[in-house]
Symmetry: C2
Subunit: 383 residues, 2 copies
Amino acid sequence: MRLPFDADDPLLARAAWSRIAEPGDRQAGELVQAIGPAAALGWLVGAGGAAIGAVQGEARERWLARLDGLDPRRELRALRVIGGRLLIPENEGWPTALEDLGAQAPFCLWVRGGEAVASQLGELLNPAVAVVGARAATAYGEMVTAAVAGELAAGGVVIVSGGAFGVDAAAHRAALAQGGLTVSVMAGGVDRLYPAGNEALLKAVAQDGAVVSELPPGAAPRRERFLSRNRLIAALAQVTVVTESGWRSGSHRTAAVAAELLRPVGAVPGPVTAASSAGCHRLIRQGAATLVTGADEVRELLAPLGLAMAAEPAVAAGLLDGLAPSDRQVLDSLPVRQGATVTAVVAASGLAIAQVMAALARLERAGRAVESGGTWRKARQGA
Amino acid sequence: MRLPFDADDPLLARAAWSRIAEPGDRQAGELVQAIGPAAALGWLVGAGGAAIGAVQGEARERWLARLDGLDPRRELRALRVIGGRLLIPENEGWPTALEDLGAQAPFCLWVRGGEAVASQLGELLNPAVAVVGARAATAYGEMVTAAVAGELAAGGVVIVSGGAFGVDAAAHRAALAQGGLTVSVMAGGVDRLYPAGNEALLKAVAQDGAVVSELPPGAAPRRERFLSRNRLIAALAQVTVVTESGWRSGSHRTAAVAAELLRPVGAVPGPVTAASSAGCHRLIRQGAATLVTGADEVRELLAPLGLAMAAEPAVAAGLLDGLAPSDRQVLDSLPVRQGATVTAVVAASGLAIAQVMAALARLERAGRAVESGGTWRKARQGA
């Protein structure tokens, strides 16, 4: 079988794969990562190509069924008409954070937006926070979302969300209102702004920021694509915050992916009498999210203890003398200047929370650690 | 110096010490624990008694100043008039949980209440939950408090609180309304029901439950005594729940003592837009409290993983084969029937929260662990 385009061009080959394989197709991802997009395409269309490694015949059948009428040049033209750029890992501007998805990383990113944003999306997304939650948000949820997203955006943080009604829309809107940058990740092609009711908002997002998708223009936002889309939202941001969610919500999928990627997750609590906050409470209870009450506390998640520590002077060896091993470990994990939450100390020390709390109490009594406003830091020597 | 009463009677000697030493006086506690209340009293009044161990002269001066007019028989008569009983560690009915306070355990407990309750207070306090929070509670806080305390009390849990306005009063009231048992811990003598505005409520508490204090009748509820009183609230209950609290609240002291005693602490979240919930959010963020949204989740804290596991059959050795050490540790920590929260698994396994979450995800994928409603349990074999 012959393809009507130059399949050796990685841009065209990746664009082709974004149509051939469904988002998150692990076998396709492994194949492309193993031999490259062009060779993988060549193998797929090759007459009587030998089976490669672990790729099952069933997967190949599935992909072959998508070859009919395949010509990514047409989709690139469609993108050019609405304004945008196709990003691939081989080029600058690619958000390298997506590689953390491993075999489920997207083949490419169809970016609808101005050239200034689209060409350096990867750099711009640092720092970025995903703000997600219920479509059926309450007035409380929309207000909290707007406050958190607006304040973060005003401080230069890119707000990533899914463009849905409710929390997503409130997050995008607040970022735009602050003159901040916001990125909306679609479950279908970026030419189909979904939901239609948010079309004006998403056009504004594309104008000032970017509307992105791993699927080519023309692709329909099918049900299962919303779930796989959520992994991109989590992967594009360094922190994910659920600002309001009921017991079941697609945003929990985003939070779960963020946790799998070892990225911090925050959740905003609400009245326990409101079912609309039950999901956030559940995430916090499960230990899957840190309770956050505002943008400041989200920023704490963006600046994890490890980074803050890197700037600190090394602890003088003598200071650690006479301490039990776990106390020493916890003291060693404490920042000198800005305090760290117990959760952060737990993460940094690698100890269980009960051990950390007991050690902090002992260190405080010994004048080695100081608590202030719920956070802990080392006591200054001689203070 | 001669005392007008039989100082060899431990009841009278302990009653005397409850007047001589301020609540939580560690030196007095250590002295009485070391040589007994009678001998300690004998040493104190002994002419030219030699200094004992670590007792400083300054402490002795402080205690001697309280000997003037000392006669605990008078205070026992005062208690008898209003109805009640003096509990001491040597007698039945003593809440042995108080011993966890170590040198800060009270010398005795002045109990105002019916004989049936007063004589077996220790037994009755199992299970007991301390429900505490802000005096300036909002309508939301009072409603949540009433729901939590009422449902717990209806289920046979004793509600311990401090008799203050706001959350405390709502907790006592809800327990009484459910025909449940409630105990109010005073910062002064049990003859002085404080605050006066809650006198009718506290009389009802004394009638159906008990009003208790470590201070003898006549003692004034001074400012610092509220803080030391809070340690008794925490120690008398197996779990402490803060249902609503602002950034600063005496209830945080109660929560801190409970944590020091390694007893679970729960906190109820509220709107992040309300300063009245800032304290609860802070406790949860610090890892000092588990987020709870209702009585069911408080009951989970009452039935910790360890206890639930005791009733479970030992894990067949073969089931653990082929797992990484941390996965094995986490699987071993999971209950078979009622699920455990991630926090509980962290506590039971002794691993860091990140390790536990990663292990749970792997165990779930391997079909060894099951998540349901935010809690985890072992998958049934063959299921």
